[in-house]
Symmetry: C2
Subunit: 120 residues, 2 copies
């Protein structure tokens, strides 16, 4: 089998996949849905600073790619639940690693930035 796809090739479909993963809010949504499904408004409250437009668009794109499922629940009151699919869940491990790297290396990067600023 080996590697059938290579992200470095411009025409490679893995590019479009990486493009989606790298989109502004995907990491946040995958991390937010880690434990349990959430509703639109819940997600909006949980991911501070996201606008409804950005949330809608990212959710639609992720649904199109089969990463999350969108279920309208006709109960009373009716609401919509977003959940990770199996495919989306498989993204959890890599993206959690990225999140943890970010959270743990803030001081290093702030130091580098301060040093770069001082340099000039």
């Amino acid at each position: 089998m080996g590697k059938a796809y290579n992200i470095m090739a411009a025409t490679c479909p893995s590019r479009t996949v990486l493009h989606r993963i790298g989109a502004r809010w995907t990491v946040f949504i995958v991390n937010a849905l880690d434990n349990r499904p959430m509703r639109f408004t819940e997600l909006k409250a949980h991911i501070r600073g996201i606008t409804p437009k950005a949330l809608t668009e990212t959710l639609r794109a992720m649904e199109y790619d089969g990463l999350i499922s969108r279920t309208e629940i006709p109960a009373n009151p009716p609401h919509v639940e977003y959940a990770l699919t199996d495919l989306g869940r498989s993204l959890l491990a890599p993206l959690r690693a990225v999140r943890e790297w970010a959270e743990s290396h803030v001081p290093d990067i702030e130091r580098a930035r301060a040093q770069a600023d001082a340099q000039r």
Copy 2:
């Protein structure tokens, strides 16, 4: 120590860090510099489809954040070498995981997209 930073908070500095990691071309550059330092033109050839402007800007930003180093080599012919710093190298593991996920899940995502298209 625990988690001092939480990406879900809008004001958290880890946001800006994640923003940089998630930028369009960062993943490609980190993966490209995995084995050895490279020059500007080498990177441009290796990462198919990147424009010189995008490459310059991403490299500058990553240098500012202390992820890569830029060294002008006054030898003959003079050239510029970009290399991962220790900090940048620590990003390799998480980003390689993301790359591998992308490369190995192309068929799943293409299937999901085809199915979504057919649905309508």
